[in-house]
């Protein structure tokens, strides 16, 4: 007796009865013979949507897109889902929040309306939960976007044919940081006013265009009546709309260029073909699982660890609280602290001062270098092949060393935010900020040179044919 798993054949069981194969019916294949179906098979009626929109064409175009399954390949999805969670929770907050700094009497206190409305949000348990989720999701979005870009960088996948998508990715990282900064102002507590005031002064310090930019973003000399409507509209509409558009383009380009893949895919699928699960239904299932996990994790985190409650800093007063920005802007803060007061340059278009250097020019340089990576990389020239696989970092010592240097340098900028508190002088801080990243980068370079494979064993990350494997001669 043998079980047959096809279900489209009806067989005569040999005992006067028929059976449809595939059902848990035991059939002896020696006696079973196929019979003509009892009923003529009518073509299945098309679905309602299929008749009107032809969704199966859409499915065959996009639903079959292969997604490689690898842990680090979920970082970009995490960033996208964080954005989704931020939009959903943000809508709830926007229904209560008042973008105004006019002072009103609330239970015997003079409070800015924005502050009072956020206090109302805090007093409604579910709204407070959403506010905390919003705040945590912002951290998660910055972190996952950053890790996603680091994965792309260290494995060399910004190269041909994905240079444009790398640029859009750097744009998304910048927009994420911009949205986070714009959100700082909204609770309008002492922390918000201080941080946004610093942002206003930095914007003002831009040579030539400073006043126009500051006016556009802050609606006049911050803090003024016009400031919160400006920052609020930018935070809830302009920047998210740009982010959503860029995410859309980013994803379309992934469909166009296809995913890069871990090296093992080359052994299992022919070069240039993506090894993975189809978008529908398997990748969708994984993605929805991830989204649910993130929702669950963020709600549990927010319930257990409230973040930035209003009472922590209180309403804005004459004193500036002793504050540092969140980790993702702390490196800019480190720059601001490290630029000495003498760094002033007079140019025909205006004065370049330490505020502009530390607050915009140097951070902008880091982002600019990042954006130009595909064009600075000497392995990425117009004539080269298409890079379709993750290149092991130890195979590219220079890229690894540059990446380690930049990471360590940003790490030293975090440290620079505290340099005076640990008793270092500015000169020592400058020295350390070059020497430590330099040492780490040299170590990474030497390690990669030592551990890197020799010429024959190097993994080829392009989609060219692999050399024929040696077939043992048959005897």
């Amino acid at each position: 007796m043998q079980r047959i798993v096809r279900d489209d054949v009806i067989v005569d069981r040999g005992d006067g009865r028929t059976a449809r194969l595939g059902l848990p019916t035991r059939v002896d294949p020696r006696t079973a013979t196929p019979v003509v179906p009892e009923r003529p098979v009518t073509p299945k009626r098309k679905g309602w949507l299929e008749e009107r929109l032809g969704v199966s064409g859409f499915y065959s175009k996009y639903g079959r897109k292969a997604f490689p399954v690898h842990t680090t390949f979920f970082l970009g999805e995490m960033a996208t889902f964080s954005f989704f969670i931020l939009v959903v929770t943000g809508i709830y907050l926007g229904l209560i929040y008042i973008p105004s700094n006019v002072e009103i009497d609330v239970e015997g206190e003079r409070l800015p309306q924005a502050y009072a409305s956020v206090r109302l949000i805090e007093s409604i348990p579910v709204a407070n939960l959403f506010r905390n989720v919003h705040h945590w999701a912002a951290h998660l979005m910055v972190a996952s976007t950053l890790l996603h870009s680091l994965r792309i960088f260290f494995f060399g996948n910004y190269r041909k044919p994905r240079e444009l998508n790398w640029l859009f990715g750097v744009g998304l990282l910048s927009l994420t940081l911009l949205a986070s900064f714009l959100g700082y102002a909204l609770p309008y507590d002492a922390y918000a006013v201080t941080a946004t005031g610093i942002g206003y002064s930095i914007a003002r310090s831009i040579p030539w265009a400073g006043n126009v930019v500051a006016e556009l973003f802050f609606g006049g000399a911050f803090p003024t009546l016009g400031s919160l409507p400006r920052l609020y509209t930018l935070h809830v509409f302009v920047v998210p709309a740009m982010t959503a558009a860029l995410i859309g383009i980013h994803l379309l380009l992934i469909i166009k260029n296809k995913h890069t893949q871990p090296g093992y895919a080359r052994k299992l699928a022919e070069p240039g073909r993506v090894l993975g699960v189809p978008f529908w239904p398997y990748q969708t299932l994984l993605a929805v699982q991830l989204l649910m996990l993130m929702f669950g994790g963020l709600f549990i985190l927010s319930a257990l660890v409230p973040i930035h409650p209003l009472e922590a800093y209180g309403p804005p007063g004459p004193e500036t609280p002793d504050v540092k920005p969140d980790w993702y802007l702390l490196w800019v803060y480190g720059f601001l602290k490290m630029i000495p007061s003498g760094a002033v340059l007079s140019t025909p278009i205006g004065t370049i001062g330490p505020e502009f250097l530390g607050g915009l020019l140097f951070p902008g340089l880091i982002f600019g270098l990042m954006a130009l990576a595909p064009w600075l990389d000497s392995t990425n020239r117009p004539s080269v092949k298409r890079y379709e696989y993750l290149e092991p970092p130890r195979q590219a010592p220079v890229r690894l060393a540059i990446g380690v240097f930049m990471l360590a340098y940003v790490g030293m900028l975090f440290f620079a935010a505290y340099y005076d508190e640990v008793g270092l002088t500015l000169a020592q801080m400058w020295y350390l900020s070059i020497v430590i990243p330099g040492a780490l980068a040299t170590a990474a370079l030497l390690w990669a040179k030592w551990a890197g494979p020799d010429a024959e064993q190097r993994f080829d990350p392009t989609a060219e044919e692999m050399p024929d494997e040696e077939v043992p001669a048959a005897h």
Binding site: G197, I198, L216, G220, P223, T224, G226, P318, E319, P354
Partner: protein, 206 residues
């Protein structure tokens, strides 16, 4: 090989149709016109985009009406400290030597840039030994600490700029590159501190 000046039947690509009769159609003139129209369309798109972008420069926003410090303004405690309530007038004796205190001009406390740091740098009667500077840091506009640091300097909580009160608030550390502008002090009829003029210089970052 494609022959020049032939058309291909789109429904049946293997059949070359005969070239159309151009007559006195001027190809040169046609391509010039086409190029001109293409440019006009591009300029049209650009103008459309500019029509939305440029008005942003004309935007204005409601501004809070704010008054600066003027001669004769009575200086009051900015916040409750030194055993006094915020808003009460400051007497020279409220500031012991080597300490600082933050004050506002009375009635103008809603303007943060009116915040003033008064420091006693030497013992003395009346305003002798007292100096006053704008408390708005010239680096990025934070309010400096009311309390002097261990070196007797005015320090900013934001990026640790330091100013020497005994030396015209000269920058002695940190990223600021201008001294804090001074405020001339005077004594009112009841012996409390008053401003004897506006703050002498631009307040905060330029």
């Amino acid at each position: 090989m494609m022959r020049a000046n032939t058309r291909t039947d789109t429904r049946n690509p293997s059949v070359d149709l005969p070239a159309p009769e151009l007559g006195d159609f001027d190809v040169q003139q046609y391509s010039t016109r086409r190029r001109f129209l293409k440019w006009m369309i591009r300029i049209g798109y650009g103008a459309f985009a500019l029509a939305f972008a440029l008005p942003a420069l004309a935007l204005r926003a409601l501004q809070t009406e704010q008054q600066g410090i003027a001669e004769g303004d009575v200086l009051v405690f900015a916040s409750g400290n030194a055993g006094a309530q915020a808003g009460t007038a400051v007497k020279p004796g409220d500031i012991p030597e080597g300490t600082g205190l933050q004050v506002f001009p009375q009635g103008k406390t809603d303007n943060q840039s009116n915040l003033v740091e008064v420091v006693r740098i030497a013992p003395g009667e009346g305003v002798d030994g007292l100096v006053a500077y704008s408390a708005i840091c010239t680096h990025l506009g934070c309010a400096v600490y009311a309390k002097l640091n261990q070196a007797g300097h005015i320090a900013c909580p934001c990026h640790n700029s330091q100013f020497d009160p005994a030396n015209n608030a000269k920058v002695v550390g940190g990223p600021a590159n201008r001294p804090l502008p001074p405020l001339p002090l005077g004594l009112g009829p009841d012996g409390s501190l008053i401003a004897s003029g506006p703050i002498e210089g631009p307040i905060g970052p330029e």
